[in-house]
Subunit: 390 residues, 2 copies
């Protein structure tokens, strides 16, 4: 009997992954780059137990049982680990696993939880079977959910598109300590629409968008190289510009898809326009936005500019009960911050009433996955009988 409990982080891409050249192996059309967020504020936690006392493999996600055999990607991750385990501790045929996984952030928030989830599952599974090469863990996570391969490293991470299972892996660009001033504000939009899933959306884009191939072949590599240079030089100005351009182009590809896909709504756009107004007013890039396959804005900025951004966003998005928009995560003093009159005027005529934003998660770059425990303890999500604790 072996047991392990691990945590893995969420990542937010600044150069977007959209479209696969191999659907089965999840080989993307182009490289992508993301920031790994601190697990203090956003993470997945997974416990895996391995024993001959279990009669079958079973899994629970956020307290609901998931049928493993119905999920091709889950089966693929487990089967690949089983094969690799032959050269480590082995996987006797009378042994089975129990998996229990949870997120520490609301799943209803529409944040890409599958990246953290698959990174955590594959990391825990590999560690359980003493498979320690991060390249192998990254490529296994990719088989679960493409962008999960980036959550295997902390700091800023590049997923090299590659051409097969071994070459399509993530690599760290810098650690979280090498650019400590970076902050991320995740603005969670109150949105009830069911969005087009990423998997379906990117398939449709590949099939119907005349522009996606041009983006993949002629634009993204340049974006990757420019932003890598900007990261190396801690040039936030350039980092922000490329981030916004790449997010915009990803959504342009969605719009060029047939039927068109829309993830950004009027609320998302009010944040886009606010950021451009602030950057223009200050004369430099105070912040940049990036949007994944949903309406939530992720704002990258430097530590010293968080208070003015929070103050501006709070002024723009009024709560209907009169309270201030909640900021979860890193706290800031904003009482002493004064907003320029021009910015006040801009916001006041565009003010949105009525809970368009749920809350903001204020966080920083963080490390890659970690092992919380190797035994049955309070961290473990499974009880000794291989069932979820709750």
């Amino acid at each position: 009997m072996k047991i392990i409990t691990a945590q893995a982080p969420v990542n937010i891409a600044v150069i977007k992954y959209w479209g696969k050249k191999d659907e089965n192996l999840i080989i993307p059309l182009n490289d992508s780059i993301s920031g790994t967020l601190s697990m203090e504020h956003l993470c997945a936690t997974t416990s895996i137990a391995f024993s001959n006392e279990f009669d079958s493999n079973r899994m629970w996600l956020n307290n609901v049982e998931v049928k493993i055999e119905d999920n091709k990607r889950l089966v693929r991750c487990i089967e690949n680990v089983r094969k690799l385990a032959e050269s480590t501790i082995g996987w006797p045929s009378d042994h089975h696993i129990r998996i229990c996984s949870k997120n520490n952030f609301p799943t209803a928030a529409g944040l890409a939880s599958s990246a953290a989830g698959y990174a955590c599952l594959c990391y825990a599974l590999c560690k359980l079977f003493e498979i320690n090469d991060p390249k192998i863990i990254s490529s296994l996570a990719r088989l679960g959910s493409g962008s999960a391969c980036r959550s295997i490293y902390g700091g800023i991470v590049r997923w090299i598109a590659g051409y097969d299972h071994q070459t399509s892996i993530a690599r760290q660009v810098i650690t979280e300590n090498e650019w400590p001033e970076i902050r991320i504000l995740v603005c969670v939009v109150n949105d009830h629409r069911k969005d087009t899933s990423s998997t379906f959306g990117m398939q449709l884009s590949c099939q119907t968008s005349p522009l996606i191939k041009y983006r993949a072949e002629h634009v993204v590599l340049e974006h990757c190289d420019q932003i890598t240079k900007a990261i190396m030089e801690r040039n936030f100005e350039k980092f922000a510009e490329i981030t916004m351009k790449d997010s915009n182009q990803f959504h342009a590809i969605c719009q060029d898809t047939y039927p068109p896909i829309r993830y950004m709504n009027d609320i998302s756009w009010s944040i886009v326009n606010l950021i451009h107004f602030i950057n223009n007013l200050f004369g430099y890039n105070v912040a940049c936005y990036t949007f994944d396959a949903g309406p939530n804005a992720c704002i990258y900025c430097l530590d010293n500019n968080v208070p003015i951004l929070i103050k501006s966003i709070r002024r723009m998005f009024q709560k209907s009960d009169g309270t201030e928009l909640a900021i979860n995560g890193i706290t800031y003093q904003t009482d002493q911050i004064n907003i320029d009159q021009k910015l006040c005027d801009y916001i006041d005529i565009r003010k949105r009433m009525g809970d368009d934003l749920k809350y903001i998660i204020s966080t920083r770059l963080g490390s890659g996955p970690k092992i919380l425990s190797n035994q049955y303890d309070s961290n473990c999500l499974l009880s000794a009988n291989g069932l979820p604790k709750n």
Copy 2:
């Protein structure tokens, strides 16, 4: 003393013009194709008087005087006509013109009125000086506002991008009588935002969008050829598909511009999604949407499908005072029309309350510009003293 009063139509592009290769001559990056709308419902009317009794050239647009010399494009149109007049009736140096122009549709509607306006001005001016070659009139209108060159012909019109002043002209694809079933529903969105002007927007796209050149060089010609074939074959199914794809791609280019330009808002998108839902439900393209540089939807469809579309749009967009959304233009009986239950359910959960649409203009394809009168009469917008009548 000579006087003329002319009318010219609005046109709505199905293959979009966006971006110039020559800013001065208004030579576009690519060909474009549009439907000319019936002047019964949407048109510009212009009266021009020419006399040695006037001491200067003056102009009024919708009852407000416009300083001609401040408007480079206006000067360019007039100067070009003056030169051409040398070989016709001449333009003695002691003669001046008075121009009075009006639209029969609300300018606040955000409908591209400059195309109709410049087409009308150039048509009237040319006719006044006995310049009758439509190619010349079309290229002059282009110097005023690019897409105005298409309003010189009725039916469906293609603007050949060309490479200089003579070659960048519009040509008729079919007359309005050759596909009489075509209908256009202009859905006027209640929107108070000031949009990015087309002139500025397309300059910014050319300067910053990596995708615009690819669109112009590799996609639009194919769209033009495919849609021309569909028009020739009266194949509405294909016509609709290409129209939607081209509109989507134009807005993708806007999104890929830096900073990004957005013309379509949540209201626009609710119409996009409704049209795709209806097409999908019926199993063929009942209608297609196209959006210019603003949030208004223009829906192309065939005559027999207008009632179901009107009924659906009216159900989706409720007026806050309980009355039904107004339909101007061609009237239809919709009392007997039943909406499929699935469509009702779709609409009911997406219903928009609160006057998001102002009204719909229901129209058909129409003819090119025409002369209303060659004398001072009730059609004339100017009085005998060369000042506006009102």
